[in-house]
């Protein structure tokens, strides 16, 4: 077995796949160097991230994978989970070596693992689309921040851009310290110098907010209360749909 170290980027991962073929490696153990504890007996092979090599591997994969699987591959990558990189590497090699259609073999451990990781990320993306609560600022920008379990920001622009085409908005990931900003034309990555705290939902200081913001937060909390049917109360089901760790996003849970 050979140990490969890579830099944690998608390019690096794809370059590692390339290296497997270039170096004719058999079984490879792929580890993100950020989470690797150096071993004197096995320094490992350090994969250099290479744009061209990455591209070639991606092209090769695309020949074998339908749109949905290409997207799944990317989503699984965004899960940032240490073991997912290994699965992605194995998956890529398996798919490249087999005739097209191999990705439908859900009985294969790596196929299943990649699709499950992708599913988790997809669920998180969907949750963010649902639970983001914008607050309108005095200068008319709609601002929200999140702390998602996985790095889902790159998956969000399309949805929010389609939906809020006529308003400027920012969604900021406090954990990973970057955000996306839509300026009515395009969505770009941004970094804020002083990002607010993720303590409660209404984290923006009152003086930054639009004068009507308080009213709509109140009305939304009122609405949430009055739409509840006491006779049907079922907190177990409620928490299954809205796990407690997401409550911090939801202004209706603060009132």
């Amino acid at each position: 077995m050979e140990l490969y170290l890579f830099d944690g980027s998608l390019e690096g991962l794809l370059s590692a796949v390339f290296a497997c073929y270039e170096r004719k490696s058999q079984v490879v153990k792929l580890v993100n160097e950020a989470s690797h504890i150096p071993d004197v007996f096995d320094p490992g092979y350090r994969v250099i991230s290479d744009r061209e090599k990455g591209k070639r591997v991606w092209k090769g994969l695309c020949k074998k994978l339908g749109k949905e699987w290409q997207f799944r591959f990317y989503k699984a990558f965004l899960s940032e989970q240490p073991e997912v990189y290994q699965h992605l590497l194995n998956f890529a090699r398996y798919v490249i070596d087999q005739p097209p259609g191999a990705s439908e073999n859900f009985a294969h451990a790596d196929v299943l693992a990649v699709s499950q990781a992708a599913q988790k990320v997809h669920r998180e993306k969907h949750r963010m689309e649902a639970f983001v609560r914008f607050q309108k600022t005095g200068d008319g920008i709609y601002y929200a921040h999140i702390e998602p379990d996985f790095d889902v920001l790159p998956l969000l622009p399309e949805h929010f851009q389609n939906r809020y085409a006529d308003q400027r908005w920012i969604i900021y990931d406090l954990k990973r310290k970057y955000g996306i900003y839509y300026d009515l034309e395009k969505t770009e990555e941004i970094e804020l110098e002083t990002a607010p705290q993720m303590s409660i939902v209404n984290a923006l200081p009152a003086d930054l907010l639009d004068e009507k913001e308080e009213l709509y937060t109140l009305l939304w909390q009122d609405y949430f209360k009055s739409t509840n049917i006491q006779a049907r109360k079922n907190m177990r089901l409620h928490v299954r749909h809205v796990p407690r760790r997401y409550w911090k996003y939801l202004s209706e849970k603060q009132g």
Binding site: A102, E104, N105, F106, A107, H108, L112, H126, E129, A130, F131, V132, R133, F134, Q135, K136, Y142, A144, N162, R163, Y164, A165, D166, Q167, K212, L215, Y216, L218, L219, W220, D222, Y223, F224, S226, T227, N228, I229, A231, R232, K233, N234, M235, R236, L237, H238, R240, H241, V242, L250, E252
Partner: protein, 418 residues
């Protein structure tokens, strides 16, 4: 200064909440005019009520004043409650401001009937028209059809709404007459038919000309109240089935009656709403729509009611043991779908995965089926040799004892689908 609008919202959201429909999917309205909103694709639940229902739409009444006196309804004229009415502008502003903050997918607008049907419908239409035309709102709009409204108004409403609905309320005409003598199923069928034929017409025109405007793209739905009147599950599901077929409905919603009145014709206030029964009806409804079951297989004269302790799919399997075991490695997709413990997505995965080799128990577990339940009904590559055939009661006992704790904890509440 916020008090007035807060009070109105309180009253008019409270009165609207008994309409259970929350769907915001199935439309295809794209944001093409660089306006706001997008009702394409599947709907999103932005939050859940404490009873676990999806909140995706701002669900309100325009007013809770009503000239009718339906016994099952909080807004009935004889009920001594606070009344309120929104202005057209207020509804538009609330919708836009909630939508822009990503609270909701759109608006679900209904109303008590004040003055007469047309007068009420005309107001509702004015709101949706303003949202679409002035605010360039492309989010989801579910509009209630007011029984008795003129064809012209229905037609206009259909040009702006994504979905329209009108509630049957009671599963049978007799049930309805008992609680709402002024109403009839006929006046529900008439607008359903009218809108259905318009949808069909628009669709056939669209096949020829691309630029045909949308007409109720997410279709129509209705709601049946369960447990207010004494109908059997069979009567309820047969009615639902007939409405799916005759009016191409997208959904039938089943709403466990929540006692809100001291009327002697109705269950007393404080009695538990029939939540398990409601859930079983939804499961049976899914079997009809997505699992290829005929309504007569699920309920019939010999078996007129769904059981509380087992879901309708398991119940069907236990009554039809001669159709099992199903061989996972060779059986037809539709037969795999009929196995208790296997849902649509795992059935699909099974037929894909078995192309690559025979499936073993370990594969099946990983593919996400409820193995403990399914194992009684399937054969797989390494299934144990079975010496004797179990009979239905025995299998049911085994399944129930294994899932007992789970079932008991949830006993009074809604269970999930399969």
């Amino acid at each position: 200064m916020y008090e007035r609008i807060r009070e109105k919202l309180g009253i008019l959201a409270d009165a609207a909440k008994y309409d259970v429909s929350c769907s915001s999917s199935g439309s295809n309205r794209k944001n093409e005019n660089k306006g706001i909103g997008d009702a394409e694709g599947s709907g999103i639940c932005h939050t859940y009520t404490e009873d676990g229902r999806c909140v995706s739409l701002l669900k309100i009444l325009l007013t809770n004043h009503c000239i009718y006196d339906c016994a099952f309804c909080v807004s009935r004229r004889s009920n001594d409650i606070k009344r309120a009415a929104f202005t057209v502008e207020e509804v538009v502003e609330l919708t836009m401001n909630f939508y822009r903050r990503n609270y909701i997918e759109g608006l679900f607008l209904s109303s008590g009937i004040f003055k007469d049907a047309d007068y009420t419908m005309e107001r509702l239409v004015r709101i949706v028209k303003k949202l679409r035309q002035e605010e360039r709102f492309n989010g989801y709009i579910h509009l209630k059809t007011i029984p008795g409204a003129s064809d012209e108004l229905l037609h206009e409403a259909g040009m702006y709404a994504d979905r329209m609905s009108i509630n049957l309320e009671m599963p049978t005409e007799t049930g309805l007459k008992l609680l709402a003598p002024e109403k009839s199923h006929a006046e529900v069928k008439k607008p359903l038919k009218y809108i259905q034929s318009n949808i069909t017409q628009f669709e056939s025109e669209k096949a020829l000309i691309k630029s045909v405007p949308k007409f109720v793209p997410a279709g129509q739905s209705t709601q049946i109240v369960v447990g207010a009147t004494p109908e059997s599950d069979k009567e309820i599901l047969y009615t639902a089935n007939a409405f799916y077929q005759n009016f191409s409905l997208k959904r039938v919603y089943y709403s466990g009656y929540i006692p809100i009145s001291n009327d002697a014709r109705l269950p007393v206030i404080g009695s538990q709403p029939p939540l398990i029964r409601e859930n079983r009806l939804y499961q049976a409804d899914w079997l009809m729509r997505f699992y290829g079951f005929n309504v007569r297989e699920i309920l019939n004269d010999v078996h007129p009611n769904l059981e509380a302790d087992v879901d309708p799919k398991l119940s069907w399997a236990l009554r039809n043991l001669d159709q099992f075991p199903v061989d996972i490695n060779t059986a037809d997709y539709y037969m795999i779908l009929r196995v208790p413990g296997i849902g649509v997505s795992s059935a699909l995965k099974i037929v894909q995965a078995r192309k690559f080799g025979r499936l073993y128990q370990s594969h099946l577990r990983k593919l996400g089926i409820a193995f403990g339940k399914a194992r009684h009904f399937i054969r797989y590559a390494d299934s144990p040799v079975q010496l004797k055939e179990y009979e239905a009661g025995h299998i049911k006992g085994l399944i129930l004892s294994e899932s007992k704790s789970k079932y008991q904890k949830n006993a009074l509440n809604q269970l999930s689908l399969f």
